[in-house]
Each structure stands twice: as structure tokens, then as C-alpha cells.
Point group: C2
Chain length 221, copies 2
């Protein structure tokens, strides 16, 4: 069921595992670019960053032919292409729902801006928070202004960082305001209508994979 | 290269993708258990939670034979087995490095306790933070007490939630204190010695997969 090289597959056919790997390749290329490396083969990429060369070639083949036989990839070109494929050439504007500890931490998270995401607003329901700024200077708005700010500030992604009990309600507000992509940090299932993409970050899952490692280590020793 | 059913594979042979799926199965089983469902087939699990039945069977087969022909899985039993496989039956004790916004948010994150992780300590370098508590009651210690607290409080996992500039140094401190499993929230590469497992949570990657979705949506319309 491998799509042919030239036909662009529909978004649903590219799994999140693939886009996650594209993100990783992009980090590696950025590092190489900064280090002044001009070309690299899939084999070289794989060795230097502990990746899989065949997987790299397969992932990139979905989107076009980037390698040059005998040369490999041009680092700057492939980096620019990957940014474009991931839609990072458009400076996406992000709102954070919830100005609690998590929301404030995310508002100033250095990795976001680095990759071209701009956190333009925080939203909260508490009067004593509204009107204040995050340490990095992001304004905290009243959630009642959500619809207006989404429109005027051209916000396309909302990050949900509210308590579990409020998550469902906030997701509905965000969808009603016209946001089509949601990153959710609240544990538990959430539903969105078709045409809206919700991605949940399960922080517990990461701890569980460490727990698995520790359980196995203990079993071996 | 499928390992036989009975021989326990070494930890390295089970990928993080597999353990992440086990975490997901565990969430689903918990939901079914609470709802009073007693047995379910891999097909039923797959349909109800949008998973892949063959993948479920394959993942579980690594660890034993849990299904009963004509019945499926006993929900309570499989849930208990998965908790054991993931090492969650041991109430792992966790320290958080950095009592900034992110550290404080993680200290009180409800998902952790739910799955049996106990956040027992926060560590910071700032005098004005040391001695205070998180909202949920976790003590903030001076990082100079790390070695002692890790030992007396039997801490087995450290979560690194410090600024990028401090991450490398803090990881070294954590390793020196004898912690074998680290969950890192700082962007950028970090090295650990053999025998220590480091898992990095790349928050930007999640935003990038949403960006990819938005770019494709835009292209289609």
C-alpha cells in the first residue's frame, strides 16, 4: 500500500509517527547546518543521530526526491523543505488556554519560538490573572474575549492547559472560536468534531516507559 | 525476528513504541473496568478505542498468553498484568528538578498519582523557593540535598524541568545521586552514561504534527 513517489498522499495517510520522525530529522539537520555541514547521506544521518537510514529514505520519499545520487542530501535545502512540509514556514500563532503553572510554563517554553511558533495569548477565567503578562511578555486575556482575539490575532492552534474538570468545556469554547488544531495536556479522553485535530500529550505515558525500563533492569540484576 | 512466546526479551528489544501502546491499552482497560466490563476481545478493544487488533495481540504476545479462546481478555486480569509489566505495581517515587512554572505544574499533575507515581520532592537552587511547598504539598528542597533525599526517600525517577542552560549540569547531578531513569523536558540533546535511561519529552514535536495537519488542510481547501 505504498503510495507512488509523485502522488501526494492525503493527510490521513501520513501517520503521526511519520511526522514525529520528520520533526526529529529537522532537529538533526538544524544541528548539521549550524555546524557548517553542507551535504549528508541518509547513512551518515542515521549513524550520527542513531536513526534508521532505510526509514529516513522511505519517510522522505513520501514528499519528493530530495537526495542526489553520490552526494546525499543538501543540508540547507532539505531543512527548508522539511520546514515547508511541516508547515513551519508560516509562523503559526498559538493561544494557551489556562494561565496556571502549566500554561505559564508553556507560554515561555523556549523550544516553541525556536521552531517558528508564536505564543500570542494566554486565556484564563480568573479576574486576578487577566491583564497580567507571562515572564516572557505574553498577555493574559479573559476567556470571554477568546473568539475576538482568535480572529484579530489569527490564532490557529490552541494549547489546553486547564484542570481536567474544565478541559471538555474549554475544548468546546476553542472549537466554537474557530480553532482547527488543539494540543491538549489534560489527562482523559476528549472529543472534537470532524475537521478539528486534537493531539493529546500524555505525560504519564513517558513516565510509564521509564517505569518499564526500571522494572526490567531490576529483573535482570 | 519475532521472539518466542515464552522467552522474555531483553528491555532493549521492546521498543518505546511498544511500551507507549501498552500504556494506551492500560488506559482503555481502566475505562472498561470502571464501566463494569468483564471481558473483551482484541477486536472489541480495537473497535471501541480505534486501535489495531492484530497489533494488540502481537504486543501482548511478547509478555505471555493473556487471551482465552472464545472469551477474549479478562479486563481486570489484563489490567493487573499490564500494570505489572510496566512496573506500576511498585509505586515509583519521583523527584522533580526545578521548581519553576513547569516543575510546579508537573508536581501537581493529576495523571501521575493516578497511575501510581508519587512525586515526593522538588529541587531548586533558589533560596527563596527552598522550604516552600507546591499547591499539592510537595516539599521544595535545596539541590545540595539531592543525594541525601534520593537515598532516604528512595527516589527512582527524576524529572528535569530546569532552563536549557542548566539541564546538562542537573542531569549530571541526578546521575551522580544514583538515579537511573530521567524524564527530560528541556529542548536539546543530553547525554547519560550506560545503565541510565533518559527520555526526552519534545513539546515542540507535538505542535509540529498539528502544524503539518494545518498545512495539509490548507492545501486541500
Amino acid at each position: 500500500m505504498k503510495p507512488p513517489n509523485k502522488a501526494r498522499p492525503l493527510p490521513d495517510q501520513i501517520s503521526e509517527l511519520t511526522t514525529n520522525r520528520l520533526s526529529i530529522y529537522l532537529r538533526c539537520l538544524a544541528e548539521l547546518d549550524v555546524a557548517g555541514v553542507e551535504t549528508i547521506s541518509s547513512q551518515g544521518l542515521a549513524e550520527q543521530f542513531k536513526l534508521n537510514a532505510a526509514q529516513i529514505r522511505k519517510d522522505l520519499a513520501y514528499f519528493g526526491e530530495f537526495g542526489v545520487r553520490g552526494v546525499g542530501y543538501f543540508v540547507k535545502d532539505l531543512r527548508r523543505n522539511l520546514r515547508q512540509i511541516l508547515g513551519l514556514d508560516r509562523n503559526l500563532r498559538v493561544a494557551i488556554m489556562g494561565a496556571g503553572n502549566l500554561g505559564m510554563a508553556l507560554a515561555d517554553y523556549p523550544g516553541f519560538r525556536q521552531e517558528g511558533f508564536e505564543i500570542v495569548a494566554l486565556f484564563d477565567v480568573l479576574n486576578e490573572k487577566v491583564g497580567h503578562l507571562s515572564r516572557g511578555g505574553v498577555n493574559i486575556y479573559d476567556v470571554r474575549q477568546l473568539k475576538k482575539v482568535v480572529k484579530t490575532d489569527r490564532i490557529s492552534i490552541a494549547v489546553v492547559a486547564v484542570p481536567v474538570s474544565a478541559a471538555e468545556h474549554v475544548v468546546r469554547q476553542v472549537v466554537a472560536a474557530g480553532v482547527k488544531a488543539i494540543l491538549n495536556f489534560s489527562p482523559g479522553p476528549l472529543a472534537v468534531p470532524p475537521g478539528v485535530k486534537l493531539k493529546s500529550v500524555d505525560l504519564t505515558q513517558s513516565l510509564e516507559s521509564l517505569s518499564f525500563f526500571l522494572a526490567r533492569e531490576g529483573a535482570d540484576s
